[in-house]
Amino acid sequence: MTVHPIIAALRRHKAGVILIGLQIALTLAIVCNAVFIIGQRISRVDRPTGINESNLFLVTQQYVGAPSSDTKAGADKLDTMELEDAAALRQLPSVAKVSVISSMPLLNSAWNGGMSTKPQAKSGFKMTTYYFGDQNMLSTLGAQLVAGRDFNAGDVQHAGFRTDAKRPVVIVTQSLAHKLFPNGSALGKTVYMDGSGSPSTIIGIVKRLQTPSTSDWASSFAYDSTLIPTRKDAFFSRYLVRAKPGQMKAAMAAAHDALFKVNPMRVIDDDMGIRSFASIRAEAYKQDVSMAILMGAVCIILLALTAAGIVGLTSFWVGQRTKQIGVRRALGARGIDILRYFQLENLFIAGMGVVVGLLLAIGVNQWLVQHFEMDRMPLGYLFVGVLVVLVLGQLAVFVPARRASRVPPVTATRSV
C-alpha cells in the first residue's frame, strides 16, 4: 500500500487533521511531564529513612508548671522527670525499647548546625542536623552502625535546652563522614560544631539516617545527621518507642496512661501527641502523594479524552467516505486493506502530532525547570510517552476502522 492516497485524502480534511494532531501533541506534552512529576514524587516518598520503620511510635508531651531549663536546678529537675517517664514506658509489657530523643526522621522539627574539621571555623561548614538523646537512640531507631561503636551510658549527659554543653563524642552518618573527610575514614577523627573551639570525636558511623526536614532547602543534607548523646531538658520532651511486634496499638494506648500515672501535670495533644511512624511519614509526604494522585488522574482523563476524540473523528470520516470505501471494495480491495488504510492514516496523523508533542514536552519541561525548580526530564519518559500515544491512537482507531472494513462493495452502486 502506498502512502500517497492517504496524504491526498488528509489534505482534504486539513482542519480536522490539524485539530486531532494538536490534541495528540498537547496530550503527549502534558502526559510526559505529568508522569515525570509522578516519578519524582514517588522516588522522593520511596527514599529510605535508614531506620526500621515498623512498630515505631513517637510520644511528644509538655509538662505543666515545669521549672525553666535555663537554670542548673531546673534542668536537673526536668531531666529526672524525663528519666521517670522513659522508665515508665520501658516497663510496659508491650514495649520493646525506649529512647529520649529530640526529633526523628521526617518529623519536620529539626535542630540544624554546621560542622567543621577545624576549631573556631568561620566558613566551610558542612550542614547537618543534630539528634540529641540518650544511649538508646540508635538501637531504638533501628539504624545500622557500620563502623566504631554505639553510645554507652557513660557517654550520656544532660543539659538545659538553651544551654550549650560540651560534646566530647558524636556519631555521624556515612554521608556526612564522607563530606567531612573525603579521603579516608572519619572514625576517631575530631570535628567542631557551629564554629566552636571544643572538639568532638567521631566514635561511630551510621550507614544511613535521614534528617527530620523534608523541605526542599534541606535536601542538600537530607542524610547528613549527627547523633549527640545529650538529653536536652525542656518543658517538653519526646520519647521514641519501639513496640513488640503486633502490639503497636496496645503500646500506644498504654503509653498515654502510663505517662499520666507517673505525673498528671502534662499535656499530650490528642492527635499530635502520640503518633505512629506511619502517620509521621504520611504527614511528611502528604503533599507529594496528593500531587502524584492528581497528576495520575489528569493523565488518565487526558488519554481517555484523546482516544474518544480519535474515535469520534474517525467515525465521521468513515461515514463520510462510505461510498468511496464501497468503490474501493468493488474494485477489489479486501476488508483488511480498508482497515490498514485507516490504521495507517491514524499512524500518520499521530506521528505528526508526536513530533510537535515532543518539542512541546521538552519546552514545557524547560519552563518547569525555570519556574518551578524541577529537574530536567530524562529522554526515557519521552520515549514511553510516544509509545503510549501511538498505541492509544491505534487502539482508538480500530473500532471505526473495522466498521469501515465491513462496508460491502455493493454500496458503490447505491445512492445514499
Binding site: 490534541q23 502534558i30 509538655q62 538553651r162 518543658f235 502528604k286
Partner: protein, 430 residues
C-alpha cells in the same frame, strides 16, 4: 429565529447522543478542573487585610557580623532584640510593633491542661492590624514600659474559660504566670497569617496576647525561628546575638515610606560606624502583598496545577472543536438544502454557533457542578489551607463566562466552515 435555532440544535444534539455527551463532558471536565485550581489560587493569593495591606511593612535589616555575612544570602526575616528595641524606641512609623510567637499551658475549667498559642507583642499591634475587640480594650504603650502583668485573649478562649461572660478583669493562669485579662478579641483571623508565617501559614489566630516585655520577664516559652551566632547565655537577652523578633511598621503615605527607608539606612550607617559590621546595609521594606509573594505563600504545586488545568482545558476545547467540525461538515447536504431554500450564510453561521453555545453552556453548568465537587475535594485534603478554600460569587461568574467564551471559541471555526459550504456542490454530492 433564536427559538428555531435552539430547536434545531436540540434535534441535532439528540441525533448524535454519544457525541453530544462526549463534547459536553469534555467541556465540563476542562472547566471544572480549571475553576477548581483557580479557586484555590484565588483564595491562597488573596489579600488578608485589604484595607491596609499597602500601608503595613515588614522591616528587615541584615545585622549579621561580617564573618557570617554572605552577599548572596537572603536578608534574614527577623531582627535581634537590640535592633528591634532601638527601632521601636525611635517610633518613626505611624504605628510599629515587635512580636514573637509563643505557647504555654492553661488549665481548663474542667481541670485539664491545654496548650495555647500565644503572641508576645507591643501595644500598637492591635490598632495596626485592625484587631477588633469584643470586650475591654488592648493594653497601651504604658503597659509595655511597665511590664504590666496583663493579657488579651481570643473570643474562643474567653468562651471556653468563662462561658458567655466577659473575662475582662479576671485572672488568666498561663503557665506559671498570673495575668490580668484586659481585653477579649472579636472575630479576627488572618489567613494567611501574614504577620508571622513561621508558625503555620494558615490557621486560627493566637489565643493569648501578652506584652513582649512581660513575657520576657516571666520567661514565657517562645516559638519560631531562632538564629544565633556566637555564645548566647540566654537567647532572649537584650544583647544576645540572636535574630528572632518580627518587626512591622505602618506608614500611611509614600512620602513616609521613603522617609522610613532613609531612616533605616541611617540606622544601619550608625551601626557600621559603631563597629558592629562593615558589610553593606541590606535594608528591606516590603508591604503585606510583597512580603507574601517574597515568602512564596502560594505553594509551587498550586501554581503548577493552575497551568496544568488550563492546558487540560485547551485539550478539551481542541477535542470539541474537532468533533463539532466533523459533525457539521458531515451535514453538508442538509446545509446545502437550507441554503438552496433561501437561508443566508449568516443564518447558517448563527444556527451552528448556537448549537455550539448550547453544548458550551450545558458543559459550563456541569463544569460548575464539577468545580464545586473539586473544591469539596480540596477541602478534604490534609493541607493547612484546606478549610479556607471556598467558592465565591466572583469565581462563579467567572466560571460561566469561561464556559461562554470556551464554547464560542470552540464553535467559531466549525460554524465558519459550515457557512462556507457551496449549496450546489453539497446538493450534488447528496
Amino acid at each position: 429565529m433564536l427559538s428555531y435555532y435552539l430547536q434545531l440544535a436540540w434535534r441535532s444534539l439528540r441525533r448524535y447522543k454519544t457525541l453530544t455527551v462526549l463534547m459536553v463532558l469534555a467541556i465540563a471536565v476542562g472547566i471544572g478542573t480549571s475553576m477548581t485550581t483557580l479557586t484555590v489560587l484565588h483564595v491562597l493569593s488573596g489579600d488578608p487585610i485589604p484595607a491596609k495591606s499597602g500601608k503595613l511593612f515588614r522591616v528587615r535589616i541584615n545585622t549579621f557580623p561580617d564573618d557570617r555575612f554572605q552577599p548572596t544570602d537572603k536578608t534574614p526575616d527577623n531582627l535581634t532584640r537590640r535592633d528591634a528595641t532601638a527601632l521601636l524606641g525611635d517610633a518613626r512609623g505611624d504605628h510599629q510593633a515587635v512580636m514573637s510567637a509563643g505557647s504555654g499551658v492553661l488549665i481548663t475549667p474542667q481541670g485539664e491542661p491545654m496548650r495555647a498559642q500565644a503572641r508576645y507583642t507591643t501595644a500598637d499591634f492591635f490598632p495596626m492590624f485592625n484587631v477588633p475587640m469584643r470586650y475591654g480594650r488592648a493594653w497601651n504603650g504604658q503597659a509595655d514600659t511597665a511590664h504590666a502583668r496583663v493579657a488579651v485573649i481570643s473570643s474562643q478562649l474567653n468562651d471556653l474559660l468563662f462561658g458567655d461572660q466577659s473575662g475582662v478583669g479576671k485572672t488568666l493562669q498561663f503557665g506559671d504566670a498570673s495575668l490580668r485579662i484586659v481585653g477579649v478579641l472579636g472575630s479576627w483571623d488572618m489567613n494567611p497569617r501574614f504577620y508571622d508565617l513561621s508558625n503555620g501559614e494558615y490557621g486560627d489566630s493566637e489565643q493569648v496576647f501578652v506584652p513582649l516585655s512581660t513575657a520576657l520577664d516571666l520567661h514565657l516559652g517562645t516559638s519560631g525561628t531562632m538564629n544565633c551566632w556566637g555564645n548566647a547565655k540566654d537567647a532572649h537577652d537584650l544583647d544576645a546575638p540572636c535574630i528572632w523578633l518580627q518587626y512591622w511598621v505602618e506608614l500611611d503615605s509614600p512620602a513616609k515610606v521613603a522617609a522610613y527607608q532613609r531612616y533605616l539606612h541611617n540606622y544601619m550607617a550608625l551601626q557600621q560606624q559603631a563597629g558592629r559590621f562593615r558589610h553593606p546595609a541590606q535594608v528591606r521594606l516590603q508591604n503585606v502583598m510583597q512580603w507574601l509573594d517574597y515568602k512564596g505563600v502560594v505553594p509551587a504545586d498550586v501554581r503548577m496545577q493552575v497551568w496544568l488545568a488550563f492546558g487540560f482545558l485547551m485539550i478539551c476545547l481542541l477535542n470539541t472543536v474537532g468533533l463539532l467540525l466533523a459533525k457539521f461538515l458531515r451535514r453538508g447536504g442538509e446545509i446545502g438544502v437550507r441554503r438552496a431554500l433561501g437561508a443566508s450564510r449568516r443564518d447558517v453561521f448563527m444556527q451552528y454557533l448556537i448549537e455550539s453555545l448550547v453544548i458550551g453552556m450545558v458543559g459550563g453548568l456541569l463544569g460548575l457542578v464539577l468545580a464545586y465537587a473539586g473544591v469539596a475535594l480540596v477541602r478534604q485534603q490534609p493541607t493547612e489551607y484546606a478549610a479556607f478554600v471556598h467558592m465565591d460569587l466572583g469565581i462563579l461568574l467567572m466560571t460561566l463566562l469561561l464556559a461562554l467564551v470556551a464554547s464560542l471559541v470552540a464553535g467559531l471555526l466549525p460554524a465558519w466552515r459550515a457557512m462556507q459550504i457551496q449549496p450546489a456542490r453539497a446538493l450534488k454530492a447528496y
